[in-house]
């Protein structure tokens, strides 16, 4: 009886792939068409918005001195490039955001592991975490500048301050929601606490950690721009503040647009990482 049952399972798993009916072809076609329309409309919205912006500015419906316009943005990019400072500003900001992001993730995860490891420590630190989480970290900006000095390190610390506590709480929460029975399974094999961590808790928490990363991407950019607003001699945040002060809205809009692109690229990087790390999410 049992052997024939093994066969049955195998057959059931294999028959799914055979012949494709007309209905199925139609279904696949519909799915594909919908995907295409979504993409087309997305591009249209983008194109139309920029076109309207350009037209309105050219016909003086809006004042391009205040609103800038796509052609001016383009010219600004070209001019920055010709001056040789475009990639300098982009590079500095991206580097600060990247370092802040990676540090926030690694340090945050390590702190979360420590809190998971010692419930006692977790209980002690809980009120502090709650307060630090609700504190607007931007208020600490001047403190960092005085302590660390004006420059990229202070900006990176600002980024860390904004993303760290959220990462700790998010990742710790992921650790604590891992199925207790899975932990018990490892313990039945005589697994140590370290093995429980490496065999179950960490791999089971990859999706949570990735989600924390996605939140962190946004927070890192907030941190960097706030940091650059406060102290900086270069970077996109610097260009925005500078452009605002001298009423060069072209420079402000250009920086904002570049910022949007950079943030999107970094987010896609995390999505790519997710695909690599989280296999078979069921």
């Amino acid at each position: 009886m049992s052997m024939s049952n093994f066969e049955g399972d195998r057959v059931a798993k294999e028959t799914q792939v055979t012949k494709i009916s007309q209905e199925h072809i139609d279904f696949l076609h519909r799915v594909r068409m919908e995907k295409i329309s979504v993409r087309v409309i997305q591009i249209l919205i983008f194109g139309v918005a920029f076109l309207l912006w350009e037209i309105c500015a050219n016909t003086k419906i809006v004042d391009p001195f205040i609103t800038s316009q796509p052609s001016r943005v383009f010219n600004t990019i070209v001019r920055l490039y010709e001056d040789g400072v475009l990639f300098h500003h982009i590079g500095i900001t991206c580097w600060e955001a990247f370092v802040g992001f990676v540090l926030g993730t690694i340090v945050g995860t390590i702190i979360a592991i420590m809190l998971w490891w010692s419930e006692f420590l977790c209980k002690i630190l809980e009120p502090y975490l709650v307060i630090m989480n609700s504190l607007p970290k931007i208020a600490l900006g001047p403190v960092f500048i005085v302590w660390i000095g004006a420059g990229p390190p202070a900006i990176i610390v600002m980024t860390l301050a904004i993303s760290l506590i959220v990462t700790v709480l998010e990742v710790l929460n992921g650790f604590l929601t891992v199925d207790q029975e899975k932990i018990k399974l490892v313990q039945t094999f005589g697994g140590s606490k370290y093995q429980v961590l490496t065999k179950v808790v960490l791999p089971a928490s990859y999706p949570t950690i990735i989600n924390a990363l996605k939140i962190n991407v946004g927070l890192s950019w907030v941190g960097v721009i706030v940091g650059e607003f406060l102290v900086s001699k270069a970077g996109l945040g610097y260009l925005i503040v500078y452009g605002g002060q001298v009423f060069k809205l072209d420079l402000v809009m250009t920086s904002v647009i570049i910022l949007g692109v950079a943030a999107a690229v970094m987010y896609q990087g995390v999505v790519y990482l997710e695909k690599m790390l989280v296999k078979n999410k069921a």
Binding site: S2, N280, A282
Partner: protein
Amino acid sequence: MKPVVEVNNVGMKYQSLNGEITALENINFSVQDGEFVSIVGPSGCGKSTLLSIISGLIASTSGEVLLSGEKVTGTSPKIGYMLQKDHLFNWRTIFQNVMLGLEIRKTVTSSAKEHAIKLLKTYGLYEFKDKYPNQLSGGMRQRVALIRTLVTNPQILLLDEAFSALDYQTRLVVNDDIYDIIKKENKTALLVTHDISESISMADRVILLSKRPGKVKHIYDINFDIKNRTPFSSRETPEFRYYFQEIWKGLDVHV
């Protein structure tokens, strides 16, 4: 011959802020080599606690458990534990899942790997070894979970409601499968269940626990006058209904 498992005067009290709960009291029984023993009892009578104590996962507050004469002080490689769900890790392939216990005990050797491959082949799972758990049916997953336990070569299998997460039909089939594997591999088994039929169909003896605090109320010897007994064929015998009635009366269920 010395029993494989001896439970002597085991008692368990849980402490909480609201007071003390006596989960188990004065439990005594023993299991012989190759025997299949079921433990049934009303919910909350401490059945699972008892298994955890035998496995060394938690320490009893009184009494002792002996495995082949040795006192249990922590988890032992002699014991294989099967939980209610298969708990296969979906980030590991079937083969990697099967190797989990060996990895944790740091006993991954080429002969252990061969043993794992042999078990997968014997029980019809070899060709799925590089698949992920979500590509397998519930019955197959439970079989993988059993193989994961068997590759560590335990002498005694503790089955903690190991079938109750499966739907009824799958469960009947998996009962037969697992019973067959346990008998072939010559293991001693201790099954905790709340399902009276399941307990009778698989066991040589059924231990009935009382309501909390759990005590051994009665031990039933199960004998079927059939050749090549399987859990399924046991269910069809006239004795089966008799045992069911006896244990049902013993359980004394009031809703």
